[in-house]
C-alpha cells in the first residue's frame, strides 16, 4: 500500500468537492475491493473519501411499490432486511450469498455496482430486476448502466445514492460459485413481471448481460421444455483455469432450467 489521505465526508456535496479537489481521488464504501487493490499496489489513490460517514446513505425503504436501497447498505443489512425479504426474497438471498461474513458486514451494494466486477452478484440483481441506479445527478436504468468489465455509465466523480428495485412477480437467483474465490463463476437472476421474463447473467462474460434468446422463449412459454433447444453461444463467454466458455455456457443453461423449475414448483 502506498501512502494516502483519508477524508470523512459528512454530505454528498462535500464528498464531491473533496473528489474534485484531489489529484488521484477515490471514494470508499466498504473498501472490500478498493483496499485489496491498494494493498497489492494495483491502485494508488492520493485521497480516499469515505462515504460511510454521510448520514442516511444506507437506508432501506419501500416507496409505493419500489424498494429503495441506499448505496451504503451492506450485504448483511440487505440480507437481513425484512422489507427486502418480503419484497424480493431473491435479492436478500443473493446478498446473503456474497463472500463471507466479514465481506458481508463491510461490502456495500453501491460499491459493488460502481465496481462492476464481471463476477460480482449484485450486477445480476440490478439488471435482472430492472433496477434504476440513482446518483447524485441522475437516474440510470440498469440496462444502460453496465458498460464493460469494471466499467459503468458513472462519471468519475459521480456518486451512487440509492438503487431502486421495482416490484416483480417472481424472482430467483442461482449462483454457481468459483470454487476458489466463491464469486460467481456463473450467476443467474431470473425474474418474471406480468408474464415477461428477464434473465441477467453474471460471471460468465466480461460484464453482466441479458440472455435474450432464453428470455424470448420463456416469455412465450415459461417452462423447462420451452428452452430445451435454446442455447447460449459460448463465443463471447470467458475462459479461465476454472471453466471454459463452453462449460460456462452449459452452466448458464443448467441454472436457467433450475430457476424455471424453482419458479414453477
Amino acid at each position: 500500500m502506498y501512502q494516502f489521505k483519508v477524508h470523512k465526508a459528512d454530505k454528498l456535496s462535500t464528498a464531491l468537492d473533496l473528489f474534485n479537489a484531489s489529484d488521484e481521488p477515490a471514494y470508499i464504501a466498504g473498501g472490500h475491493t478498493l483496499i485489496p487493490t491498494m494493498k497489492q499496489r494495483l491502485s494508488a489513490p492520493s485521497d480516499v473519501i469515505d462515504l460511510a460517514t454521510i448520514p442516511g446513505l444506507d437506508a432501506i425503504t419501500l416507496v409505493g411499490d419500489t424498494l429503495q436501497i441506499g448505496a451504503m447498505a451492506t450485504h448483511a443489512k440487505v440480507a437481513a432486511s425484512s422489507l427486502v425479504q418480503e419484497h424480493c426474497a431473491a435479492l436478500a438471498n443473493l446478498a446473503g450469498g456474497i463472500g463471507d461474513r466479514q465481506v458481508r458486514y463491510r461490502g456495500t451494494i453501491g460499491g459493488s455496482l460502481a465496481n462492476n466486477d464481471p463476477a460480482a452478484d449484485y450486477p445480476a440483481a440490478a439488471l435482472g430486476l430492472g433496477a434504476q441506479i440513482v446518483t447524485d445527478r441522475r437516474t440510470i436504468p440498469s440496462d444502460t448502466f453496465f458498460k464493460a468489465m469494471f466499467e459503468t455509465a458513472l462519471e468519475p466523480d459521480e456518486i451512487i445514492q440509492a438503487i431502486h428495485f421495482p416490484q416483480v412477480d417472481q424472482a430467483v437467483y442461482l449462483k454457481f460459485p468459483n470454487p476458489a474465490s466463491r464469486y460467481a463463476m456463473v450467476g443467474v437472476m431470473l425474474t418474471r413481471t406480468a408474464g415477461e421474463t428477464r434473465i441477467a447473467i453474471t460471471g460468465a462474460a466480461a460484464s453482466v448481460f441479458r440472455a435474450a434468446t432464453f428470455e424470448t422463449a420463456l416469455t412465450a412459454d415459461f417452462s423447462v421444455s420451452a428452452i430445451e433447444a435454446v442455447t447460449l453461444s459460448a463465443e463471447t463467454l470467458n475462459t479461465d483455469m476454472h471453466a471454459s466458455a463452453e462449460y460456462r455456457a452449459h452452466l448458464c443453461k443448467v441454472l436457467i432450467q433450475r430457476g424455471v423449475e424453482a419458479l414453477t414448483a
Binding site: 454457481f176 476458489a180 476454472h242 471453466a243 462449460y247
Partner: protein, 787 residues
C-alpha cells in the same frame, strides 16, 4: 502411576496462548532500532540481468541500503545447497545448478529475489524496492516438466535439464512378471502441483551485536539447527557459533518451513554486513511465488496380475519437476521417499521404478505434507482399484488377496524397506464396517433416484515415517544423520524442563512431549515444560518433518527420562544408605525393595542439587540427562481410507458425502491431537483431489498467485470425518509410536479419486477433479453408454 497419561485426551497446553492472541510469532517480536527489508523480485520466469541501477532507490526517503546479487557475489557467499545426493542409474551424481542467495546475472523463476532494500519503515522499503532498476532481458521459459528434457537447456552444467535419472528395483524380474501376467493394468496420471499455504507466512528478524559479533536470527523454521548449519557451513555468512537461530511460535509449515531460503539467509547476511536489526515478513503473494511447492509428478505405471488377481509386478516411470533449483531436500522426495513406498501394503514380488527429475522455470519443489509418499500411494492405490474394476473383483477383496499378512512381519519389500509391523486386514475391515461398505448399493440407488451419481473408493496406504535411521539414510545419500536429541532437565523443586531438537509448528508438542515425560516420571503434566526452537538453548537437533517428532524426538526423551530414573535411583540409594539394586522406581516414588522406606521424586530432585555429601568419585550432583536417539528403522503407519462421493451430472460438481479413515499409528499418546492431525491431513488430501492446483502459464507466470484462483479447501467442502484407529505398536522405538502428521494427506487423494472414477463408471480424470473435468467425463460416459 506410570502409564496413566498415555492415551489421554489432554487439552493442548499451548492452545490458551494461541487462541487468546498471546502466541509469539516472528513478526510479533519487537526490537529496538529495527529496520525493514523488501525484496526486489523477478517479474519473469527466465531472464538475463543486464544491469542494476540502485541510485534512485538509495536516494528514496528512509532508505539505508540496497544490496543486490552483485554484492552477494562480491562477498563470496556460497549457494543454497541441497542436502541429499542422488545418483543416476549410470552412477553419476545428480546435477545441481548454483542456487544464489540473490540472483546476479540470470533469474530462473518468477519471483526469484535479485535485490534487497533496507529502510527505516516497511512502507519506505517497499516503495524503494519499486525504484530499483533492473534491466532484465527476458528469455524463453521452460515450464512443462513432461517435455523439459527436450526443451532448451537452462543451465550449462545440466544437459537436457535433467537433474538425475534414478532407478530402484529389479527391472528384469519386473519384466518377467509382466510377461507372465494374465492381466496387465496400465495407468497414466499426474500428481498436481500444490502450494503449501501455511497460515503464517515466512518471516525473519535478524539482529547483529557487534560487541559479541553474534547474529541472532528469529525465523519461521521447522528446524532451526539446520538453518544455522547451512547458513554457516555452506553459505558462510558467519562461523556457526556466531549465529543463533530462534524459531519462536511457528504457524504451520507442512514442510515449506524446513528449507533454507534466500530471504532469511539474505537478512542474516545483511544484518551483519550493515550492523543492523532487520525484519522481513512475506506478503501472501510472496508466499505463493516463493515457498517451495509440492508434488508435481507425471507418471505411467503397469501392474501385472495373475488370473487369480495376485500382483506379480509393478513397473513405474515418473517425471518429477524440481522447479528452477534444488531446494534443501528436493532430490530425496521423488526417489527415496517415493520409489521405496511403491510396494504399498502388498506382497508384489517385483517392482521397478524409474524417476527422471527435471528443472523448469518454476518455483523450487520440495517436501510437502507426505513428501513422495502421497505420490506413491496415489499411484499404487489408483492402479490397484483400476485392476479390480478391470478384473471384475471387489476392490477390497483384491487388496486382501495381496496384503502382507499380520504374521509375515518383519517384511522385506523389493524396494529397499523392511516393514517392522502392521495389520492391514484389521484396518481394512474396521474401515469397511464404519463405511457400511456392504450396503453401498442401496445408497447408490437412492442417490440415482435423486439424479446423482454415487461412487465409493478405497485406499489402503502405507508410509514410512520417523525419518530416519542414520545409517540407512546415509547409505542412500542423506547429507546428515537423522537422529534426534532430547534432554530431560529436572529442576531442584522437581518440576521438569524438557528440551527437544524437534520443533512444533502447530502439532502440539508442548502437550504430547510433556504428557510422555510426565507419564514416565509420574508427574502432573503441569510440572513439565517443553523448550524447543532455539539453537542457543538446545543441543543440535534435526527438527520436525516426515512425521518424525514423536517417533524419533519422543524416543530421545523417553531414553533421557529413563536415564533420569537411573540417576534418581543412585541418588535414592545414597540417601537411603543402600545399594542401587535395592531401589525400585514406582513413578513418582523411589522405593527400597527390602524396606518400606522411600523417597519422592521431588525429594530426589532437591537432593540432587543441594546435598553436600556425594561421594564425588561415584555420583555427580545434578539431575539432567540427554539422549541422541537414532532410530533402528523407519516406522510404517498404515491404514484404510474410504470415500463416498456424489456427482451432479448436470454440473459435474463432486460432493464428498462420507469419509472414513482408519489408521494404525502404533501407540497413541494423545488421541485428541492425533485426530486433529488426521482431520487436517484429510482436508489437505481431499483438497488436493478436488480443489488445489498451482498453475503456471506457458511463459512461467503464476496464474494461481492468490486465493482468487488457488482454491484452498474450506470446512464446508467436507463432511464430518469418521476417524477410527487400530494399533500395532512400532517394534523398534521405546514409545511404540509411528507418526500421524501426514497420513491424512497420503491416504485420502486416491480414495477420493477412486470414488469419482467409480461414480463415472471407470472414466478417469486427473486431480484436481474440478467440476468441468467431471462434467466432461460424464459426457464421455454417456456417449460410451449409448454407443
Amino acid at each position: 502411576m506410570s502409564g496413566s497419561l498415555i492415551g489421554k485426551r489432554v487439552l493442548r497446553k499451548e492452545d490458551h496462548r494461541f487462541v487468546s492472541g498471546k502466541g509469539r510469532y516472528t513478526d510479533d517480536i519487537q526490537l529496538v532500532g529495527v529496520t525493514y527489508a523488501a525484496f526486489v523480485r523477478s517479474p519473469y520466469a527466465r531472464a538475463d540481468i543486464k544491469s542494476f541501477d540502485v541510485s534512485e532507490a538509495l536516494a528514496a526517503p528512509g532508505v539505508i541500503a540496497v544490496l543486490t546479487g552483485e554484492e552477494v557475489v562480491k562477498d563470496g557467499l556460497g549457494g543454497l545447497p541441497c542436502g541429499w545426493m542422488i545418483h543416476s542409474k549410470d552412477g553419476s551424481e545428480m546435477r545441481q545448478p548454483h542456487h544464489p542467495v540473490l540472483a546476479a546475472d540470470r533469474v530462473n523463476y518468477l519471483g526469484e529475489p535479485v535485490a534487497l532494500v533496507i529502510a527505516e519503515t516497511q512502507l519506505e522499503a517497499k516503495n524503494a524496492a519499486e525504484m530499483v532498476m533492473v534491466d532484465f532481458e527476458p528469455l524463453t521459459a521452460v515450464v512443462n516438466p513432461a517435455t523439459a528434457s527436450q526443451a532448451e537447456t537452462l543451465y550449462e552444467a545440466v544437459p537436457n535439464n535433467v537433474c538425475y535419472e534414478w532407478e530402484l528395483g529389479d527391472e528384469a524380474a519386473t519384466d518377467a512378471g509382466l510377461a507372465a501376467a494374465a492381466h496387465i493394468t496400465t495407468l497414466q496420471l499426474t500428481n498436481n502441483r500444490l502450494i503449501p499455504n501455511a497460515i503464517e507466512p515466512r518471516a525473519a528478524l535478524a539482529e547483529y551485536n557487534s560487541g559479541t559479533d553474534e547474529i541472532i536470527l528469529h525465523t519461521t523454521s521447522q528446524n532451526p539447527h539446520l538453518v544455522r548449519l547451512i547458513m554457516t557451513a555452506f553459505v558462510q555468512i558467519a562461523p556457526e557459533h556466531k549465529l543463533r537461530v530462534i524459531a519462536p511460535d511457528v504457524g504451520g509449515g507442512f514442510g515449506s518451513k524446513i528449507f533454507i531460503y534466500s530471504e532469511e539467509t539474505a537478512l542474516a547476511w545483511a544484518a551483519k554486513k550493515l550492523g543492523l536489526t532487520i525484519k522481513w515478513t512475506a506478503e501472501r503473494s510472496e508466499s505463493f511465488l516463493t515457498d517451495a511447492h509440492g508434488r508435481d509428478h507425471v507418471s505411467e505405471a503397469q501392474l501385472a496380475l495373475s488370473a487369480e488377481g495376485e500382483f506379480l509386478a509393478l513397473k513405474v516411470k515418473t517425471i518429477a519437476n524440481m522447479g528452477a533449483y534444488l531446494s534443501t531436500f528436493a532430490s530425496a522426495v521423488p526417489t527415496y521417499l517415493y520409489g521405496t513406498l511403491l510396494a504399498g501394503q502388498y506382497r508384489t514380488p517385483a517392482i521397478y521404478v524409474e524417476v527422471d527429475s527435471v528443472f523448469t522455470n518454476t518455483a523450487p519443489v520440495d517436501a510437502y505434507r507426505g513428501a513422495g509418499r502421497p505420490e506413491a500411494t496415489y499411484l499404487v492405490e489408483r492402479i490397484v482399484e483400476k485392476a479390480a474394476a478391470e478384473m471384475g473383483l471387489d476392490p477390497a477383496e483384491l487388496r486382501r488377496r495381496n496384503f502382507i499378512g499380520r504374521d509375515q512381519f518383519p517384511y522385506q519389500t523389493p524396494v529397499a524397506l523392511e516393514y517392522d509391523t502392521g495389520d492391514y486386514e484389521a484396518s481394512l475391515s474396521k474401515a469397511l464396517e464404519m463405511a457400511d461398505y456392504d450396503t453401498f448399493a442401496t445408497r447408490q440407488a437412492e442417490a440415482a433416484s435423486r439424479g446423482k451419481l454415487r461412487g465409493i473408493g478405497l485406499s489402503c496406504y502405507i508410509e514410512a515415517c520417523g525419518l530416519a535411521p542414520s545409517q540407512v539414510a546415509g547409505a542412500l545419500g542423506a547429507g546428515v544423520g537423522l537422529w534426534e536429541s532430547g534432554e530431560v532437565r529436572v529442576n531442584p523443586t522437581g518440576s521438569v524442563t524438557v528440551l527437544t531438537g524437534s520443533h512444533s509448528h502447530g502439532q502440539g508438542h508442548e502437550t504430547t512431549f510433556a504428557q510422555l515425560v510426565a507419564d514416565r516420571l509420574g508427574l502432573p503434566i503441569e510440572d513439565v515444560e517443553v523448550v524447543h526452537g532455539d539453537t542457543g538453548k538446545l543441543d543440535f537437533g534435526l527438527g520436525t518433518y516426515g512425521s518424525r517428532s514423536l517417533a524419533v524426538g519422543g524416543s530421545a526423551l523417553s531414553v533421557a527420562a529413563d536415564k533420569v530414573v537411573e540417576k534418581g535411583r543412585k541418588i535414592a540409594a545414597h540417601l537411603l544408605r543402600t545399594d542401587v539394586d535395592n531401589i525400585d522406581f514406582d513413578a513418582p516414588v523411589f522405593k527400597m525393595l527390602d524396606s518400606n522406606e522411600s523417597k519422592t521424586f521431588q525429594e530426589i530432585a532437591f537432593a540432587a542439587y543441594v546435598n553436600h555429601d556425594y561421594p564425588s568419585d561415584e555420583l555427580e550432583p545434578g539431575l539432567a540427562e540427554k539422549a541422541f536417539y537414532d532410530p533402528l528403522n523407519f516406522t510404517y503407519p498404515a491404514g484404510t481410507h474410504i470415500c463416498e462421493v456424489e456427482i451432479d451430472p448436470d454440473t459435474g460438481v463432486v460432493e464428498v458425502v462420507q469419509f472414513v479413515a482408519v489408521d494404525d499409528f502404533g501407540t497413541i499418546i494423545n488421541p485428541m491431537i492425533v485426530e486433529g492431525q488426521v482431520h487436517g491431513g484429510l482436508a489437505q488430501g481431499i483438497g488436493q483431489a478436488l480443489l488445489e492446483q498451482a498453475v503456471y502459464d506457458d511463459t512461467g507466470q503464476l496464474i494461481t498467485g492468490s486465493y482468487m484462483d488457488y482454491c484452498m479447501p474450506r470446512a464446508d467442502n467436507f463432511p464430518d470425518f469418521k476417524v477410527g484407529m487400530t494399533c500395532t505398536p512400532c517394534t523398534h522405538n521405546p514409545v511404540g509410536a509411528k507418526g500421524c502428521g501426514e497420513a491424512g494427506a497420503i491416504g485420502s487423494p486416491p480414495a477420493v479419486m477412486n470414488a469419482i472414477t467409480h461414480a463415472l463408471g471407470g472414466i478417469e480424470v486427473d486431480m484436481p477433479a474440478t467440476s468441468e473435468k467431471v462434467w466432461r467425463a460424464v459426457q464421455t460416459m454417456r456417449t460410451l453408454k449409448t454407443a
